[in-house]
C-alpha cells in the first residue's frame, strides 16, 4: 500500500515537472528550437572557413509551385554560400501574418527571415526593435528592384520585395463572349455589361464581402479615380480620409452598389474558401468577373475542377471614371517581401539571400508557371505564363502609379478599422457609414 502511494507520488511529481518544463519552453516556436544555429554560432564543420550562419525562414509557401521554387532557391543559394544554411519553415498565410509574426517579434527569438507585406504594418513591426535595418547591406543592388520603397520605414530599408501584385478584374472570356459584351473601359460600360450579364442569368461580379478586405479594394479604387495621388498619399500618411474627394468616392460607390452588380447574398460570401467563394463562383462560371489581386487565378484553380480555366480567364483594369479628379490609370496593389532579424552577421547573410531571391533566374521561377504576381526585376516579366497575368503585368508597367492596399499602407489598427468601415458601408451605404469611413483610421 505504502509503496503504491509512493509510486503515485513520484508519478505525480514527474508529471508536474514535465508540465512545468513544457511551460518553460513554450516561448519560442519549434522552428527556432535549433538554438545554436539560430544564434549564428559556429558549426564544427566550418571551423576553418567563416563562421557558419543558419537562418530560419518563415514564409507562406505551403503549396506548390512556390514551395518547390523556394526549396530550389535554398539549394542554389547554399551551393554559392557554403557558410550559410537556410531552414525553410512554410506556415499557413493567416496564421503566419496574424499570429506567428507578431508573437515572434514580441519574443526573444524571432525568425531570421520572415515574410511581410511592407507599408505601415512593416513600420509598426520596426517598433519592436527586432527588425534589422539592412539599408547598408542592400545599397548596392536595391536600386534595380521595383517597389522597394514600399519596404522602407523612416527612410531606411527594413525589407525587400520579391514579387509585386496588382488588383484588377479577372473575368471569364467565354461568358463575355456568350453574352456578347466586351471588356469595359469606363464605369458606365461596366454597369451596362452587368445588366446584360444579369439578364443572361449570371451574377455579373462576385465579391467576398465576408472577408471585408475585398470590399476595401472597391472603395480604394473609387478613391484612386476620384482623388489626386498627392491627396491619397497625404491621407494615408495623416491617417485621415476626411478630404472631400473621398466622400465623392463613397457616393460614387453607393451609386454603383445601387445597380445591384454583385451575386445574391454577397455580404455572406468568403473570397477564397471553397467553391462557394467569390473566386469559386468565377471559376465555376456562376459569376462573370471579380475584382481581385493577381493571385486570384491560382486560388480559382484550387477550388475548381475546370481544366480550361487558364485559357478562359482574362484581365482588365479598374474602369475609368471620366471627369474625376484622380488618376484614371493608377493601380492598387502590393507585394510579398521579407525582413531580417538577428545579429549583424545574420542580417548580412539574410540580405545576401534576399538579393539571391531577387536575381533574374530566381525571379523567373517565382512568377513562372502556376505562380502569381509580377517580378521585381522587370526584365523577367516574360517568365509569366498565364495570358491574363501577362495582360495585368503589361498594364502594370504603364500605370500612372501603384498605390499600396490602404489597409497595408496604414498601420494595422487604422487599416483594419478602414476595412471594417468600408464593409459596413457595403452593407448599408448612407451618410453615416460614409462618415465612418472618413474617420475610421483615427478611431481608437
Amino acid at each position: 500500500m505504502r509503496s503504491s502511494r509512493a509510486l503515485a507520488a513520484i508519478a505525480l511529481a514527474a508529471a508536474t515537472a514535465t508540465a512545468a518544463a513544457a511551460c518553460s519552453s513554450g516561448g519560442g516556436s519549434s522552428s527556432n528550437s535549433s538554438t545554436p544555429a539560430a544564434t549564428g554560432s559556429s558549426s564544427p564543420s566550418s571551423a576553418a572557413a567563416a563562421p557558419s550562419v543558419t537562418l530560419t525562414w518563415w514564409n507562406n509557401a505551403t503549396n506548390q509551385p512556390l514551395l518547390g521554387v523556394y526549396q530550389n532557391a535554398i539549394k542554389g543559394f547554399e551551393a554559392q554560400h557554403s557558410n550559410i544554411i537556410i531552414k525553410d519553415v512554410p506556415i499557413q498565410n493567416e496564421l503566419l501574418q496574424d499570429t506567428k509574426i507578431p508573437l515572434a517579434l514580441e519574443g526573444n527569438n524571432p525568425p531570421n527571415i520572415y515574410q511581410q507585406w511592407g507599408g505601415g504594418v512593416l513600420g509598426q513591426q520596426v517598433t519592436s526593435g527586432k527588425v534589422d535595418n539592412i539599408t547598408a547591406d542592400v545599397a548596392s543592388w536595391i536600386g534595380g528592384i521595383s517597389g522597394a520603397a514600399g519596404w522602407q520605414a523612416n527612410g531606411q530599408q527594413y525589407g525587400v520585395p520579391i514579387d509585386l501584385h496588382v488588383v484588377g478584374f479577372w473575368y471569364r472570356k467565354d461568358i463575355f463572349k456568350h453574352v456578347g459584351i466586351t471588356v469595359p473601359t469606363t464605369l458606365t460600360q461596366l454597369e451596362s455589361d452587368d445588366t446584360k450579364l444579369r439578364a443572361a442569368g449570371y451574377a455579373p461580379i462576385a465579391v467576398g464581402s465576408k472577408d471585408r478586405w475585398p470590399d476595401a479594394f472597391w472603395w480604394e479604387y473609387f478613391a484612386l479615380r476620384d482623388c489626386p495621388q498627392s491627396t491619397v498619399v497625404s491621407a494615408i500618411k495623416s491617417e485621415s480620409f476626411s478630404a472631400s474627394c473621398f466622400a465623392t468616392a463613397s457616393t460614387a460607390l453607393a451609386a454603383f452598389l445601387k445597380t445591384n452588380p454583385f451575386q445574391t447574398g454577397f455580404l455572406g460570401t468568403s473570397s477564397q474558401q471553397g467553391a462557394g467563394s467569390s473566386a469559386g463562383m468565377v471559376a465555376s462560371g456562376k459569376a462573370a468577373m471579380e475584382l481581385q489581386g493577381d493571385w486570384d487565378p491560382s486560388v480559382m484553380e484550387g477550388v475548381s475542377t475546370n481544366k480550361n480555366l487558364s485559357s478562359e480567364l482574362g484581365w482588365f483594369p479598374f474602369p475609368q471614371t471620366p471627369g474625376s479628379a484622380g488618376s484614371q490609370t493608377a493601380v492598387l496593389g502590393g507585394g510579398d517581401g521579407f525582413s531580417c532579424t538577428g545579429t549583424p552577421q545574420q542580417a548580412q547573410a539574410c540580405a545576401e539571400f534576399l538579393q539571391y531571391l531577387d536575381s533574374p533566374s530566381v525571379q523567373a521561377q517565382i512568377v513562372g508557371p502556376g505562380a502569381s504576381g509580377e517580378p521585381v526585376v522587370t526584365s523577367e516579366s516574360s517568365a509569366i505564363t498565364l495570358p491574363a497575368t501577362q495582360t495585368a503585368a503589361a498594364y502594370f508597367k504603364t500605370a500612372a502609379y501603384e498605390e499600396l492596399y490602404f489597409d497595408t499602407a496604414l498601420p494595422t489598427k487604422p487599416g483594419q478599422n478602414l476595412d471594417t468601415a468600408i464593409a459596413n458601408y457595403f452593407s448599408n451605404p448612407n451618410s453615416s457609414t460614409a462618415a465612418a469611413i472618413a474617420n475610421s483610421p483615427s478611431t481608437p
Binding site: 508536474t16 507578431p102 517579434l105 445574391t264 447574398g265 455580404l267 455572406g268 494595422t412 489598427k413 452593407s427
Partner: protein, 330 residues
C-alpha cells in the same frame, strides 16, 4: 473500533473530546495522521493547482495588467493609459452591439433550448423501439468539432444551397432568406446552428438526471391516481431541477463565451450583425493587433462570466451544492 484506532483514524469531534477529557493523563498527540493528510493533499492538489495558477490565474492577472496600456503587441509596455481602454470599449457602438448579441444568444439558449431539451429528454426517457439510436442521433451534433459544424452549415446555408432547396421541396420557398447575408436574419441563423450543435448536450445531461429519479415515486403517484402529466409536473420535473440548474449554468457561461461556430459562419458580420463579445475581442486583438484593448475586452468578458457565476452559485446552485462546494448551512 477501539479508542486507539479511532484516534489513529482521526475521527472527528468524539475522539477529540475524549482526548481533552483525559486531562492530566493527556500525552503528546501523535501528529502522524495530520501530516499524512497534509502530504496527500499537497501531492494530489499541487499539479492541478499549479496548472490552474499558471494557466488561469496568472494569465487573468497579466490580461488585466495589459489592459491598462495602449499596446500593439510590438515593443515594450510603456504607454500607460489607465482605464481608457475600458471607457473606449463602452463608447464603441460595435462593442455595445456585440454585448446585445451575446445577451440575446444567452437568453435564447436558456429560454428555447431548455424547454426543447426537457421535452425531448422526457420523450427519449420512455421505452420504445429505436430509442438508443435516436439518443445517439440527437447527441451526434455535439460530438462534432465546432469548426466542422461551422463549415458544414456555411455550405448548407449558401444562397440556393441545401437549406433553400429543402424549404422549396416542402413548398416553403417563400420563407427562404439570405441566411448569412441578411443583417436582420443572420443572428437568428447563428442561434439555430448553435441550437443544432448544443441541444444534444442538454438532452443527454437531462436524460442522465431522469435516470436518477426513482421509478417508485412515479409508480406510487400513479397508484394514487395521478395522471401522466401530473406525474411529470409534480414528481419528475421537481426532481430534475438540480440537473436543469447545472445545465443552465453551463449553457449561460458557454453562450457568453461563444466564438468558434460564429467566427467560421460569419466572422461576426455582415456589418457586425452577428458579432459577440468574443468575435469583437478577436477582431480587435488579432486582426487589429490592439492587444491592450483586446485584453480589456477579455477582462470585461471575464467579469461578466464571474459575476454571473457568483450570483448563480449564491442563488441557484447553493441548494444543490450545500455541504459540498459551500459550508454546511442550517
Amino acid at each position: 473500533m477501539s479508542r486507539s484506532t479511532a484516534l489513529n483514524a482521526g475521527l472527528g469531534p468524539a475522539a477529540t473530546e475524549d482526548s481533552v477529557a483525559a486531562g492530566p493523563l493527556r500525552r503528546p498527540q501523535w501528529r502522524g495522521p495530520k501530516l499524512r493528510k497534509k502530504t496527500e493533499l499537497t501531492i494530489l492538489l499541487a499539479p492541478g493547482l499549479i496548472l490552474f495558477v499558471g494557466f488561469v490565474l496568472i494569465p487573468i492577472g497579466i490580461a488585466a495588467y495589459y489592459s491598462l496600456f495602449n499596446w500593439s503587441g510590438y515593443g515594450p509596455l510603456n504607454d500607460y493609459i489607465g482605464f481608457k481602454n475600458y471607457s473606449y470599449a463602452f463608447k464603441d457602438p460595435a462593442f455595445i452591439q456585440s454585448i446585445e448579441h451575446t445577451l440575446y444568444l444567452t437568453v435564447a439558449s436558456v429560454a428555447i433550448q431548455g424547454p426543447l431539451a426537457i421535452a425531448i429528454a422526457l420523450l427519449l426517457n420512455r421505452k420504445f423501439f429505436g430509442r438508443t439510436f435516436l439518443r445517439t442521433v440527437v447527441f451526434a451534433p455535439y460530438v462534432l468539432p465546432p469548426a466542422v459544424t461551422g463549415v458544414m452549415w456555411s455550405l448548407i446555408l449558401q444562397p440556393g444551397g441545401f437549406a433553400d432547396q429543402v424549404f422549396k421541396a416542402f413548398g416553403l420557398g417563400g420563407l427562404v432568406q439570405l441566411w448569412l447575408a441578411n443583417v436582420h436574419v443572420v443572428l437568428f441563423t447563428v442561434f439555430a446552428v448553435l441550437t443544432w450543435q448544443y441541444l444534444g448536450f442538454g438532452i443527454v445531461v437531462l436524460l442522465a438526471g431522469l435516470q436518477g429519479i426513482p421509478t417508485e415515486l412515479k409508480q406510487a403517484a400513479a397508484i394514487d391516481g395521478a395522471s401522466p402529466w401530473q406525474v411529470t409536473r409534480r414528481i419528475t420535473l421537481p426532481l430534475l431541477a438540480p440537473t436543469m440548474r447545472i445545465w443552465g449554468f453551463i449553457t449561460v457561461i458557454g453562450s457568453l463565451q461563444v466564438f468558434d461556430v460564429i467566427w467560421i459562419l460569419t466572422q461576426g458580420g455582415p456589418a457586425g450583425s452577428s458579432s459577440t463579445i468574443s468575435t469583437y475581442m478577436v477582431l480587435e486583438g488579432v486582426d487589429s493587433t490592439d492587444f491592450g484593448f483586446a485584453a480589456a475586452i477579455a477582462v470585461i468578458l471575464f467579469a461578466f462570466c464571474f459575476v454571473f457565476a457568483l450570483i448563480y452559485q449564491r442563488y441557484a446552485l447553493r441548494r444543490d451544492t450545500r455541504g459540498a462546494l459551500t459550508r454546511a448551512v442550517g
